[in-house]
Amino acid sequence: MKKYLRQLFEKTDDIFSAGFTPACNPMLFLGTMGWFFYWIVVASGIYLYIFFDTGVTEAYESIEYLTNTQWYAGGVMRSFHRYASDALVIVIFLHMLREYSLDRFHGPRAFTWIIGVMSLLFIYASGITGYWIVWDKLAQYIAISTSEWLDTLPLFGESIARNFLHDTTLSGRFFTLFVFIHIAAPLILLLFMWMHIQRITMPKVMLPRYLATGILLMLLALSLFYPATSQGPAELDKAVTTVGLDWYYMFFYPLLDEFPGLYLWIAIFLLVSILLCMPWITRKKSLSIAKIDLDNCNGCGRCVSDCPYNAVSLQARTDELPYTSQAVVNPDLCVSCGICAGACPTAMPFRRKSKLVPGIELPDFSINQLRQYVIDTAEIMQGRDRVFIFSCDHGPVACNININNTTTVSLPCVGMLPPSFIDFILSQNIADGVFLTGCKVGNCYNRFGINWTKQRITGERDPFLRERVSRERISQYWTGSVNRKKLIQKIIRFKEKLASLNNEVTGFNN
């Protein structure tokens, strides 16, 4: 199922990338959109709070004033508050599904996953209490149903639902309490959101300006054409018959009319437990974490700045070598992507005098093994237009692409490839061209593998690919796990290009 889900996401990505370009593709910014909607909810909530009055009748009247009398500001803010909260639920569930489909919840990523799942509870606590304090018919339904549901837990001495028995039994202090919860829950949520991004470097918490503007305009249009309104004042002497639910937050409430509340608590407990245990339910085999070789580490810090997970840091030197710092790997954060090895300037395949051991690498897939693998697999290629393909374990199954005179090496992440290997392959005449493929742009399994690789080739990021290397003999196509046909076409076209380049060289020699 995971595989099909991933393919579905990748196909959807293609559609949105065609419309928005990969740089502004909303499907590649689902988590970031969550942050964006959160801040809209906070900003609009602060405005609403200024005018909100806590009290049995005052609560409804103050919201009505905002919605009707002050429709141009308060009404728009109310709609922003509601619709951004709803959009938050949509993007968070999509974000969660996407990370699940990409297997991004194992090992060191389990912490982030767990914090994300726990954030859901606070999103729901924030949303439901928000509807409660409006004190309209929907609030009446939610207040009574929720308190009846809470009463099914053997935790409360007195029935909470009794507070909503009749207008005479209802106290304004209840609203004060729920306003407090409605403010406290989003604050705790913010703490969890902050924890959620602690294990990654350069988290994307700001949307591209173009996309942010588009979303704001969409919310504004929705707020003006279909403003959020109340459903009439709550009247406890009348039963709630038909009510317009916010299905993003209240989809499970109708179940309370069908099943005992305790069953629903058990179902939610089981569902949350399963989600929390996901990293251990579906285990994933991973490589050993990156290892430092102090004799080859001069503490340059390239691995530190390239690691997408904050797993490498610089510390004071512990040996006799004349450098001030050395790289240190945090085993709890390392996901064994190998990007650090690709960033290490000592991962140089040209080295002959000493054994090829870089300052940092993956013990299960060393740079020396990679060089040997490149040399060995290239032997099957003969003649002209030989293409060496580097792919990643999370992108296309390039190893199964049966194109004459090509060979493929799959890396844990394409960012593990030191740019000097491209120079090595071309200058040592191991192949006539190098083709790079892997995850989709903006959707790299290890976040920055594609970006760093591109920047190393274009000379924007250290270690650079030498200028002497002909860029015409390098091609890239970031396809993800779909578009296999297009990948084959791209490789064939690259071979044709190499053939013409080879002909030019031959002609020149003649």
Partner: protein, 167 residues
Amino acid sequence: MYTPRNIVIQITTYLVFAVIVGYFSSRPEYEHLDPGMALLKISFSHAGEKKEECRRLTQEELEAMAPNMRRPLECSRERVPILVEIILDGNILYKEQVPASGLSHDGASTVYEYFRVTPGKHKLVTRMRDSRENEGFDHERSTDIELKPGQNFVIDFNKEAGGFVFL
């Protein structure tokens, strides 16, 4: 630079997203209760009598106690469960023996139930036994009521106010 095709895709995306967000934020409506029905809710929190009567301690028993622990009466904590009966038009709508809350059964007995009933005229009888007696009822109230569609009729209990209260 975006092409007209890009712009069309973007506007369509925003439009679809806005419709999905806007529509499901309050639609489709959910029918919690048939608008043609009324709701009869019984809810109260009331403590039954102590299960055993307090016993006056004998002089010997008092002397056997530490001076600071001496008290004239010894009372058990446990309370009797209350028996509640609601009869609507001669039919028993609710009959339950409700235990006292708390681990030692020394708290109030709490009832919270609701029933969907047809609107119109009804004869309502409410009874409760909260004493150690085995038969009969300690509190009873009967009345004729006329329920309107969508009405929420509440049966509460307040001993100080004379027993059953209809709201």
